[in-house]
Amino acid sequence: MTAARVERRRLPLPFLLLLPSAVFMLLLFGWPLFMGLLEAFRGPDGFTTAHWERMAGEPRFWEAVRNTLLLTAVVIPIQFVLALTMAMLLQAKPRGAGFYFYVWAVPLAISDLAAGLVWLAIFTDLGYLNSTLVNLGFVEQGIAWLNYQNPLSLFMTVVVAEVWRATSLVLIIVVAGMQAIPKDYDEAAQVFGASFWKRLWHVTLPLLRPSLQVALILRTILAFEAFAVAQALTGRNFPLLVGETYEWSVGLQNPAVASAVALVVLGMSMVVAVIYLRALRQPDSVRDAR
């Protein structure tokens, strides 16, 4: 965000303009964050780790950690491959590209709760998937996709719903990134004899790196926050970390443990962001080039 020409002023006008937002964010981000930290470590007799022990002693917590990480690890690679494919399909300017883009972008504005309910209509026992399978004669009776006794299919339904819901975000970032790359680079690669795959590997992906980095960080952090999808599809059969926070806070009325779980999510988000930023760092010289 660099203004073409930014003026230097001694007047406090910019500070006046910024002040409300800064105060607002301090009050609604800084203060609760601080309070949350305090809460998680505060007992009746001052500092304590009892809430953390309580959290860790609950098997559902570890199940939630495992599920959250597993879901993220499976969903994100699928989403990136899918989003890149979709972006390249759009770049090839098919007939009706505007319509395709619209349909593909719709889930961007759909909440994870709504996404869960949408796929519930498909995966539920008497839902549209089973109906189709029976209609086509593949199975005699419907399959219990959402039964807790089928952990794999339970997991897969959540994966499908998450891929469906959140690929649009990656798509938008990737398409915007692709449009910012001058066409000349790809054309030069074509003229100099590069095949489609070589162009993808040597030109498109490296030039998309900043966009992919942003998408990856954003998507991973958002993936850690998913919970309503699983709630809508599986009830309490597929615990996720944020869902556990919700349970501790609303169901069990224990804000201290809820804060501890929330801080685990925050910690995971920060670790992931740092890892990505390091792993995907480019030499400064390359970044300045465009």
Partner: protein, 371 residues
């Protein structure tokens, strides 16, 4: 290396008005340097891109060597190209940029290194091989783009306004260097520009384009001296060719000659136009071919100075001749003031004749266009 043959190439863009190229045919001989010159939107870049394979024609044919490549993907055409924006990959070092085409064609590393070193030496890029493009100046990036193109041993070298992003001084020096380089390599080259000086200086032949058609294709001197149409004469040269409209009448000379009546002055016309007596024609004459003197002389046309501009190497006079305006270039020692009377000598061998309605050149002995 190979020759390029374009035949009846038609290309129109969806939503565009009319054809970008309209049945264009052109041959570029083996080792020849042909420049496509024209104003923006004349179809020169479209033509180049059809040779490159970056656009496919609606109809027509492109042949490189003896191979039809009309619809072949760019990567299979064995071309190389210099882009207007250079298109030097920002994420690759200079070395990888120059060697890119060779690596894509599967050459082994030793061969690539050898060629890269050669090209870098030729373009004075050796000290920069391990830098990223962002660490180079615009001129150096341009050299990288050229180096990347010449290492390819391509059949045809395509250049799309490669000098237009350089500043004026750099452009001048790199132009000469480019000419020397391409001359030594002897690669068949197709070069697009809207800069007439560049076109005249570089090309073995210059193809002047307008509205998707080639108006004239000839050696630079011929295109400049004998423009095939008013458009070509007006597009080339600075100042552009003067055009004076008049009517052909009975000449004053012996043998029933023919002359152009400009109102206040009469200019003898070639005998080939005798059959057109009574018709309106346009006379074209270059500013620097007009003789100018301060005293009245027989056969000279009187004009009045409107503007006098010293240009350093010469002086430029804008004058009014019988209600029509023309520009005259004189030696830099010549002086005049607005309002001065001058007499102009229009030497017959420098006069060109054009049809009033079509603007096409009329065949005359003096302006005979080489067939």
């Amino acid at each position: 290396m190979a020759e390029v043959r374009m035949r009846d190439l038609v290309k129109s863009y969806p939503g565009g008005s009319g054809r970008a190229t309209d049945e264009v045919s052109l041959d570029v001989e083996d080792g020849e340097f042909v420049v496509l010159l024209g104003p923006s939107g004349c179809g020169k870049t479209t033509l180049l891109r059809m040779v490159a394979g970056l656009e496919l024609p609606d109809s027509g044919q492109v042949v490189i060597g003896s191979r039809d490549v009309t619809y072949l993907p760019p990567k299979d055409r064995n071309l190389s190209m210099v882009f207007q924006s250079y298109a030097v990959f920002p994420h690759k070092k200079v070395r990888a940029n120059i060697g890119f085409g060779l690596r894509m064609r599967g050459k082994d590393k030793a061969a690539v290194d050898h060629k890269v070193a050669w090209a870098a030496e030729l373009l004075q890029l050796t000290p920069f091989l391990d830098r990223y493009p962002s660490q180079l100046s615009g001129g150096q990036r341009q050299r990288v783009a050229v180096a990347r193109a010449i290492v390819m041993d391509a059949d045809v070298l395509l250049m799309d306004e490669p000098l237009s992003n350089l500043d004026a001084l750099l452009r001048l020096s790199f132009r000469a260097e480019l000419k020397r380089l391409v001359g030594e390599l002897g690669t068949t080259t197709l070069y697009v520009t809207h800069d007439q000086v560049e076109a005249l200086s570089l090309g073995d032949r210059v193809a002047v384009m307008r509205d998707g058609r080639i108006e004239q294709c000839d050696e630079p001197i011929a295109v400049y001296d004998a423009p095939a149409s008013e458009f070509v004469g007006g597009f080339l040269g600075s100042p552009p060719m003067n055009f004076l409209a008049g009517t052909l009448v009975e000449g004053d000379g012996d043998g029933g000659g023919v002359a152009l009546d400009l109102g206040a002055a009469r200019v003898p016309a070639p005998a080939e136009l005798a059959g057109m007596r009574g018709q309106a024609v346009v006379l074209g004459v270059r500013a620097e071919t007009i003789g100018v003197s301060r005293s009245a002389r027989p056969g000279a046309a009187r004009c009045v100075v409107e503007v006098f501009e010293p240009l350093g190497s010469a002086v430029l006079i804008t004058a009014e001749l019988a209600g029509q305006r023309l520009k005259v270039q004189a030696a830099n020692t010549f002086r005049a003031e607005p309002g001065d009377e001058l007499w102009l000598d229009l030497a017959p061998e420098h006069l060109r004749w054009y049809d009033t309605s079509s603007g096409a050149a009329l065949a005359t002995g003096t302006s005979a266009v080489p067939a």
